[in-house]
Amino acid sequence: MRIGVLALQGAFREHRLMLEGCGVEVTEVRKAVDVDGVDGLVIPGGESTTIGKMLVDWGLMDKIKSRATEGMAIYGTCAGMILLAKEIVGSQQPRLGLLDVSVRRNAFGRQRESFEADLYVPEFGEQPLRAVFIRAPYIESAGAAVKVLAAVDGHIVIARQGKILVTAFHPELTQDDRIHRYFIDMVKDSA
């Protein structure tokens, strides 16, 4: 099994290291042809407007969409969650639109409002997840097909719809690989 990490901009190194730590082969994805060889894709945190424009300019947008409709699993963190959303509040920026949610960017505020907190998520066991939120988005509303896995103050921060998984925070900045292992299982199931 090989998982691609979109490496246009952002924290792709951390995702690669975490996936390799789980024993998975990882490819950095920068061009459309790179998407062909992977069984699953991680879209990292970074600047969603930057990554979105480059997805269009370098022919990756349509390629990823078509692989997703064939059943490729995708995990998006932070900017990745924004890029996967169908609606982005107040923005026309390019997106994949594969997840039936409305997302608000910088929803918790600017950098000084960024925070870390413990999240108790039954899906990932009894131990809390240390969640790092950096100028993070949240999901304002989600369609019926979307399963909500966790929320902070009523705002959705982990969600899944079929083969698409998103978190508003950054497990790749911690030592806790439970979400990555959960995603690896999703990729295995789709193979």
Binding site: A7, L8, Q9, G10, A11, F12, R13, E14, R30, G45, G46, E47, T49, T50, K53, M54, D57, C78, A79, S91, R105, N106, R110, Q111, R112, E113, S114, F115, E116, A117, V132, F133, I134, R135, H170, L173
Partner: protein, 293 residues
């Protein structure tokens, strides 16, 4: 829930990696930068080339300019405070800027001490010419480092010198037996714990960007290949003939830094680059890289 932790501060820098941070002086320039794919902007009253030309004392920008730029874009906004000027830093923090650059581009306010950056909730980036300087800044709380280069010159040679110095020192450190590490830390005047961490990681403990003289897509790709995590472009964009096109080209070059075909493509028809300055023509007391202790 905890705010302003080092993980949260250094984490934003991790998210900026592989991207380009552009100096802007107006909301219009900020929008051009955002549209071109900048991952953040640096809000300034004047770009370094103009600061250099104007001479005199360069200070923090007027908060009105910073706020207008913050209002114009959705990407992170940084701003510069003078070395050691912790009140300018407090003012910028209260405005809500996302990162403060304690910068040698401005005239230092303290000739001995830098800002105690650990005491702030807002993260800081600082310039460094070598490993000792980088680790001293991290010890004071900097969550991101950049090369100093020689700002406002459009001449990449000093930035190259600085990243080669830092990477070379890390390679030497990595090869040392543990019992020689304390003496190494003493020689470079850096905190021992951070030296040990750098040795363990084989890189700086925080993100390290290139800055100070980057003017072309090839310059950006060169700095990435030498080991930088991302690029600051100061005067290089808005002092050039076609800022929007050059900005977009430098963004592409920072992602595809290892792909000469892409670099050739994006380097075509960019118009006039900024006028460069030969470093030996700058008197020693006017070299900004000498500021910082």
């Amino acid at each position: 829930m905890e705010q302003g932790t080092f993980l949260v501060k250094a984490g934003l820098a991790e998210m900026l990696k592989g991207g380009v941070i552009m100096d802007v002086t107006t909301p219009e320039q900020a929008k051009i930068a955002e549209e071109a794919g900048a991952c953040a902007v640096m809000a300034l009253e004047r770009v370094p080339a103009d600061i250099r030309a104007a001479g005199g004392v360069a200070r923090m920008a007027d908060p009105t300019i910073v706020e207008k730029i913050m209002g114009a874009v959705t990407i992170p906004v940084m701003a510069k405070a003078r070395i050691g000027h912790f009140v300018e830093a407090r003012i910028l923090e209260s405005l809500g800027v996302d990162y403060i650059d304690e910068s040698e581009v401005l005239t230092p306010a303290d000739d001995k001490f830098h800002i105690n950056k650990n005491e702030f909730k807002v993260p800081f980036v600082c310039g460094a010419k070598n490993l000792g300087e980088a680790l001293r800044r991290i010890g004071e709380g900097a969550a991101m480092i950049r090369t100093k280069g020689e700002p406002g010159t459009g001449n990449v040679v000093e930035a190259v010198k600085h990243i080669r110095m830092v990477m070379g020192e890390i390679r030497v450190l990595a090869s040392l037996p543990d019992d020689e590490v304390a003496a190494f830390a003493k020689n470079i005047a850096a905190p021992l714990e951070l030296v040990k961490e750098t040795k363990k990681l084989g890189r700086l403990p925080v993100v390290n960007f290139a800055a100070g003289g980057i003017a072309t897509p090839a310059d950006a790709a060169l700095m990435m290949q030498l080991g930088c995590d991302g690029i600051f472009v100061g005067s290089g964009i808005f002092k050039s003939g076609d800022p929007a096109k050059r900005a977009k080209a430098i963004v592409a070059a920072t992602t595809y830094y290892n792909d000469p075909k892409v670099l050739a493509e994006v380097s075509k028809d960019l118009g006039e680059a900024m006028v460069g300055i030969e470093i030996s023509n700058i008197p020693a007391n006017e070299r900004m890289q000498e500021r910082g202790w």
